[in-house]
């Protein structure tokens, strides 16, 4: 039998991470988890070098951090704080779920099926509320109180 011609470019690729279809919240929570993680990692690598400059003594330190006191950098730091709040709380949910907690027990499937994603939805909502509270407090500290 001759090799049939097939259309081999039907993988969704990276677009499948963002817009694969009309799926539920958890699929997009996963993508946001990755994006926030990458943002934090990028900031973190730079942070190691910036904080490493303190080896030059207090004057070196003051001059280094004075470059980062502009509104643009402050906003960037705020974004990192938001990313951390989301990543940490969603990560907490993922650690619990991937170790099998909060997902219920296997049962005989009876229509209408209730899957483990639905069963862990309350946990998802709870961690999102806590993350939102942390973001609000952080926002207050960054932009309302003190420096």
């Amino acid at each position: 039998m001759a090799e049939e011609k097939k259309f081999k470019k039907n993988k969704l690729g990276l677009a499948g991470w963002f817009a694969g279809g009309r799926y539920g919240a958890e699929r997009y929570a996963y993508i946001l988890h990755r994006i926030s993680g990458l943002g934090i990692l990028f900031y973190f690598i730079l942070h190691i070098f910036v904080t490493g400059s303190r080896i030059g003594g207090p004057e070196e330190w003051e001059s280094t951090i004075s470059t980062f006191k502009t509104p643009v950098f402050k906003f960037g730091e705020f974004l990192v704080f938001l990313a951390f709040a989301y990543h940490a709380l969603n990560g907490l949910r993922l650690v619990l779920a991937e170790l099998g907690f909060g997902l219920g027990k296997p049962t005989r499937p009876v229509f209408p099926y209730v899957n483990s994603i639905r069963r862990q939805r309350p946990l998802f909502i709870a961690v999102m509320i806590v993350a939102a509270l942390i973001m609000v407090f952080g926002g207050a500290d960054f932009y309302l109180l003190g420096n």
Binding site: K11, L12, L103, N115, S116
Partner: protein, 286 residues
């Protein structure tokens, strides 16, 4: 029962509305890439997307190709991407899709053979690679069985949900990791691996470990849960994969013992007749 003078309309064949089927078609002989063709389909009560495809083939365009068989949601042949989600065409009524336009594409993340027919060979290979059959040490018993293996109803409930998989392929179409990673086993294979590992009759956890926990195995699942959302039989593969992770985690930390493998049910030596059960009547044909 009162008879009126109004004309009797048969509710079974009255046309409710007309919808547009926009189908992504591809002919390997003539096309370089898939393209969309539109058809107008009259909808009657209870008509599924699969019925719509049959109507198009019978009345408009007989070159339209797809797979279907049971038309009742048990064979898994008619999996396709309908209005934003991977679904079974036979399991979804057109009126329930709440739209006048039905967008149908072949399942994403599979090669397309023609029109709406995906190439499932890679899917089946991934399934085979997790050894989806009972593996036991007592090979002679498997080859020439002398009795049943004992399994309690609780032990059955632990894995029976995952045994309902009909291999339709919707879960791999929904999974974001399958979208980018060719070597990822996918929710179906991993859920079937768990179905056997959780089965007390099976003794093959060690044999499957290397494949399941490789660089493109269970650890590439991140609990996006799209697979469980689209599964038409309630298999919940996301749940199976998290249970798989929990199991290996607990076993590596010595917090869970290896399960005791089901043994042959004891033979009943002496049958005693229950005196409350009456005797069967005499046969009428001698």
């Amino acid at each position: 029962m009162c008879k009126t003078d109004a004309p009797q309309v048969d509710e079974g064949t009255r046309v409710l509305k007309e919808v547009t089927f926009k189908i992504l078609r591809y002919n390997p002989e003539t096309d370089k890439a898939p393209s969309v063709k539109s058809y107008t389909v009259p909808v009657i009560k209870g008509m599924t997307v699969l019925d719509g495809l049959h109507w198009i083939k019978e009345n408009v365009d007989s070159t339209l190709a797809w797979r279907s068989s049971c038309r009742m949601g048990v064979c898994g042949s008619c999996a396709m991407f309908i209005n934003g989600l991977p679904r079974l065409a036979c399991n979804n009524q057109i009126v329930h899709l709440d739209s006048d336009v039905i967008n149908i594409k072949p399942l994403p993340n599979y090669d397309i053979i023609r029109d709406l027919v995906p190439d499932l060979e890679g899917f089946f290979q991934k399934h085979r690679s997790v050894k989806p059959y009972l593996i036991r040490k007592d090979v002679e018993e498997l080859e020439s069985p002398t009795g049943e293996y004992f399994q309690s109803p609780e032990e059955l409930t632990n894995y029976i949900q995952f045994a309902y998989c009909i291999k339709c392929g919707l879960c791999l179409a929904a999974c974001p990791t399958v979208a980018t990673d060719d070597k990822y086993l996918g929710p179906q294979a991993l859920a079937q691996a768990w179905r056997y590992i959780a089965d007390t009759r099976d003794d093959g956890s060690k044999e499957r470990e290397e494949e399941i926990f490789s660089g493109h195995g269970a650890w590439r699942c991140h609990f996006a849960g799209a697979c469980s959302e689209v599964c038409p039989k309630g298999v919940d593969p996301a749940f199976a994969i998290q249970l798989l992770k929990q199991d290996i985690f607990m076993k590596k930390l010595r917090l869970r013992k290896e399960k005791s493998v089901a043994q042959l049910a004891p033979k009943i030596e002496k049958w005693e007749r229950n005196p409350n059960i009456p005797n069967a009547p005499e046969p009428t044909v001698k």
